[in-house]
Symmetry: C2
Subunit: 142 residues, 2 copies
């Protein structure tokens, strides 16, 4: 089992500086959500994590099948009703109601093989699994 750890400190009410191993980066909100728009916002990073993860797994599955990937471009989008995060009475959930991931893949294999690679990658992508399925989330006040 591998344990991954990330820490963050608020630099404004909407902005954190994140530390992940030797890396440091900002997360912020755009002006219409009260931030200074200094960096992508949290839900954009969540979609980006999905793209980054899916790319790794697509290449891994392709290599296992002896397929060479010459191009892999990905786009993700998600629909979010901000009512709950803003504290309004709503039946809508807080997060994305649906996430759509489109993959443009160029390989030396045929279209059916490319589809099989995508299908297998879906079940083996860690970030995709954590979005598609429930995960115990424990939040404690230090």
């Amino acid at each position: 089992m591998s344990t991954y750890q990330v820490t963050a400190s608020a630099t404004t009410p909407t902005q954190v500086e994140v530390a992940a191993r030797q890396f440091r980066f900002l997360i912020d909100e755009p002006a219409d959500l009260g931030g200074e728009d200094a960096a992508p916002n949290p839900v954009e990073y969540s979609l980006a994590a999905l793209l980054g993860c899916f790319n790794v797994v697509v290449h891994l599955v392709a290599r296992e099948r002896g397929v060479t990937v010459t191009k892999c471009s990905l786009a993700a989008e998600g629909d979010l009703d901000p009512a709950k995060v803003l504290g309004q009475q709503t039946d809508a959930r807080a997060g994305f109601q649906q996430i759509r991931l489109q993959v443009a893949l160029e390989t030396d294999a045929d279209a059916a093989t490319n589809q099989q690679i995508i299908d297998e990658a879906k079940g083996r992508c860690p970030v995709g699994d954590n979005l598609a399925n429930a995960t115990p989330l424990e939040i404690t006040l230090a």
Copy 2:
């Protein structure tokens, strides 16, 4: 309803360059996962998104209650069995089996109020909702 969109292109089998509105950043894997370790990896970005999101919602809930937050530091960790992503026979899921988020919060309110803020923020955090609960994830080959 707000729709968020992010795109990415593979620059190596483990690395993507991400575009989110005007922002560009890299995601990579460390050397032991086959990458060049040029940037945080996908699951680290997923945890970071949770921290960034929770920070925003904590400040929002505190402000609604007339509470001033003077410090908010967050740490998240998750346990992941790499067997499935590596294609081994396993009953383990691909993603984090559990995620733990610790919040260190300094405010002008008492400890019980701080705990209430955390409890309410948990239900209103979009990224936390998408991790804790299942979300339809549609993956298509372009």
